[in-house]
């Protein structure tokens, strides 16, 4: 029986919670968007959103003293991009005093990251992850109708 679902290319990657890998994750998801929707006008927004979410994930995982990988799942469906970033981090108040220096704290709780993310995405959902950590789910839709 033929499937009525359109093909839905996606990627599922996991990387060590290190700053070096944030750029890789951002470029992999950008490549997925370009391949799936060559005319997409939201590639730059997607790159930025992925970078913000992955930077937060790396920061909170480091703060937790964990080496658990950060996972990023991306899917494009009719130009609509959905990205989910999951970590095993801990909130600041649970991490204790000086888990990481403030100058290296790039979590959502600090600074400009969350306002920027909220300005970029159409849907943003941050929820607890089973077993600890959090899951950030973001949806971005094309700016103009094809």
């Amino acid at each position: 029986m033929p499937s009525p679902e359109p093909s839905r290319p996606d990627v599922d990657i996991a990387f060590p919670p290190q700053p070096e890998f944030v750029g890789v994750a951002r470029h992999v998801i950008a490549a997925l968007v370009r391949l799936s929707d060559p005319g997409s006008d939201i590639v730059e927004d997607v790159k930025l959103a992925v970078s913000e979410a992955c930077t937060n994930a790396v920061t909170v995982t480091t703060r937790a003293g964990s080496e658990e990988p950060v996972t990023v799942v991306g899917a494009v469906d009719g130009g609509r991009v959905e990205v989910t970033v999951a970590d095993r981090g801990v909130p600041r108040e649970e991490a204790g005093g000086d888990a990481i220096p403030e100058s290296l704290d790039f979590s959502f709780e600090q600074g400009l990251s969350l306002p920027l993310l909220e300005g970029l995405v159409d849907e943003l959902e941050i929820s607890p992850r089973d077993g600890g950590g959090s899951v950030v789910r973001m949806v971005l839709s094309p700016r103009t109708d094809a």
């Binding site: 750029g23 100058s103 790039f106 400009l112 990251s113 306002p115 920027l116």
Partner: protein
Amino acid sequence: MDLDLQTERRDGVSVVSLRGEIDVYTAPRLRQALIDLIGEGATDIVVDMAEVDFLDSTGLGVLVGGLKRVKAKEGSLSLVVTQDKILKIFDITGLSKVFPIFGTVDEAVAGSKA
């Protein structure tokens, strides 16, 4: 996925020219460069971002930190931004009202001395 960083003096203004991507991996290098410049006595700084392909909140945070440091010495930190995708990030976060933003290095240098 890297950041090239070059510094020169022009008419008494320190110009930091960036090329590449500014994110959580590369932003610490920009932070250190700004701290070094200010430590060496620079008070008027122009950061040329015309060749920056990517900028996120970690880079914004470093620029805000630099601005605070030069303001404490009654100096200035101006930006050269020519790409809409970069300008948009300053607009979303409201920082386009905080930094003097110019279209060319010449204008930024002239503006820094004004």
